[in-house]
Amino acid sequence: MSYLSLENLSITFPTENGPLMVLDDVCLKISKGEFISLIGHSGCGKSTVLNIVAGLLQATQGGVLLEGREVNDPGPDRAVVFQNHSLLPWLTVYENVRLAVDRVFAKSKSKVERHAWTLHNLALVHMDHALQRRPAEISGGMKQRVGIARALAMQPKVLLMDEPFGALDSLTRTHMQASLMEIQATLNNTVIMITHDVDEAVLLSDRIVMMSNGPQATVGEILHIDLPRPRDRVTLAADPTYNNYRAAVLQFLHERHAKPDVPSSKPEQSERPQLKLAKG
């Protein structure tokens, strides 16, 4: 039995033009310690898959099994690193991570241990120099590091990352990828990461899950990346195997599943109906 199993996930959102099936029969089995990338065109439902695993969305059909037990609601065992970091702007770097630590280890760790664990995780992402800064006072890359530290500090069974480096400039992104590989080498977490970046997917993943275009998106192809670790981006750049993998992903994305020219409606994430209020 696999560690994490996505069993025939389908999800349908009600829209003004009738129900819209975003995911159709997504199946995926993930072993412990595996690094999976989800790649696909925007609007294909990658985030929806991630949000279902996180428990933030409920699948219409099918379900998610973690260690053989169904998960229906969000919880710290499936920590999420959000694309826009989602740090609480009124708390310092330390307090943001500490909030998660206090919540998850309220009973199992003493106050001193929780303090040490917070510092340990911030040191892991090289953010221990800015403990008392607020999110507004640090760069985008640093915010994302803190977001990762917060997720890691929950000691999750699965780490879910929704385009974690999508908002960063390319130089910062390569630094972050290197950091993530370094952390992954020590902790060997089970990771599902959404990305748009082919290089990032090949560099980091054990398997790349390529999704077909939505609506009714599903798993198109799965590519095993059989490159030895630790991987180095510079040496890999000249490696023919690495380039073959890149080519395979590019081919899938741009030849077999090219985005149609017609702009499709993209209900990638269902927005809850917002309260409409008059200001005054």
């Binding site: 920590a79 009124w90 909030l99």
Partner: protein, 320 residues
């Protein structure tokens, strides 16, 4: 002199000009225009007061206040003297001190009004913020409350005044009341109008908390209380304060009108009394009250801003 320091002087001069000189110019223009126009307005109580008369009356009001205080002190001193004499003759005699019952001065009326508006505003905030938080967090509750809020929001609290007066006189019956009935009536009227802006702005602030932050709270499985304290309230704080400032501003305006209408002690009553009094100085004294009301309203708003700065996490936010 070197160039950079020259620049600095230039810049500080411009800064001074912007912050001090321009307002002074506007103020002088206003005073000149007012003085000139006032001379041409003849009322049944004489000429409309110009800046000089108003200034004189403000000094006069202060003097009256000091005189009244002196009389009060003298009154108590006389009683004490008399009591001491009585006790000397008969050590078992029962002596009492009767309270002074002079008419309230301008300063007394200001203090009464401030106390009333503060009481009404604090009660309203204590009711409105929780309602706003609950409405913002729960869409069904919002749907339930919204028609009521929309119905009562546009009602002038002065329309409530007769009802409040009657209810207070019927319900607030006590031999030894802690607060005067008029005080309770005015405070409740202020409360009634301070509720709505705070409820509405708090609801909007709470309902528009970033969805990602709420997802963080769901992933962490934060309890209701922690979620409210750590995520919802800090995030809604700027909107809550917008509501509070609107409420306080409206409350202050309404209070003056309510005091005029209900003859409850306070600045409004002072204005009304002067109007009824109809002496040649009345208009100037009313003008003093007008400026006082404006200045206090301004101070109230500033103090809310200072409070917001104290409470707000975002020290860099521009508050105006």
């Amino acid at each position: 002199m070197s160039k950079p320091s020259n620049n600095l002087i230039n810049r500080s001069f411009r800064w001074l000009a912007h912050t001090t000189l321009m307002p002074l110019v506007a103020l002088s223009l206003f005073l000149i225009l007012w003085g000139a126009l006032a001379n041409h307005i003849n009322t049944s109580l004489g000429k409309f007061p110009g800046p000089t008369q108003v200034w004189e009356q403000s000094e006069q009001l202060l003097r009256e206040h000091q005189a009244e205080r002196a009389r009060e002190a003298a009154f108590y001193e006389r009683q004490q003297q008399r009591n001491a004499e009585t006790l000397k003759e008969d050590p078992h005699a029962e002596v009492t001190i009767r309270p002074y019952t002079g008419s309230p001065t301008f300063i007394d009326q200001i203090l009464t009004s401030l106390l009333t508006v503060a009481t009404g505003f604090i009660i309203a905030s204590l009711i409105a913020i929780p309602i706003g938080v609950v409405c913002g967090m729960s869409a069904p509750l919002y749907q339930a409350f919204n028609p009521l809020i929309q119905l009562f929001k546009p009602v002038s609290p002065l329309a409530w005044l007769p009802l409040v007066t009657m209810v207070v006189s019927a319900v607030y019956v006590s031999d030894n009341p802690l607060f005067a009935k008029s005080f309770v009536t005015s405070a409740i009227t202020v409360t009634l109008c301070c509720l709505w802006p705070t409820i509405i702005n708090t609801t909007v602030g709470v309902a528009s908390v970033d969805k990602d932050l709420l997802n963080v709270s769901r992933v962490l499985r934060l309890g209701w209380f922690t979620k409210t304290m750590k995520i919802v309230l800090p995030s809604a704080m700027p909107m809550i304060f917008t509501g509070l400032r609107l409420s306080l501003g409206i409350g202050w305006m309404v209070l003056i009108a309510a005091e005029m209408l209900a003859q409850n002690p306070g600045l409004g009553k002072f204005v009304w009394d002067e109007f009824q009094n109809g002496s040649s100085n009345s208009l100037a004294r009313i003008m003093v009250a007008v400026f006082t009301i404006g200045f206090i309203g301004f101070l109230l708003d500033r103090s809310m801003l200072l409070l917001q700065r104290r409470v707000s996490w975002d020290k860099s936010a521009v508050l105006r």
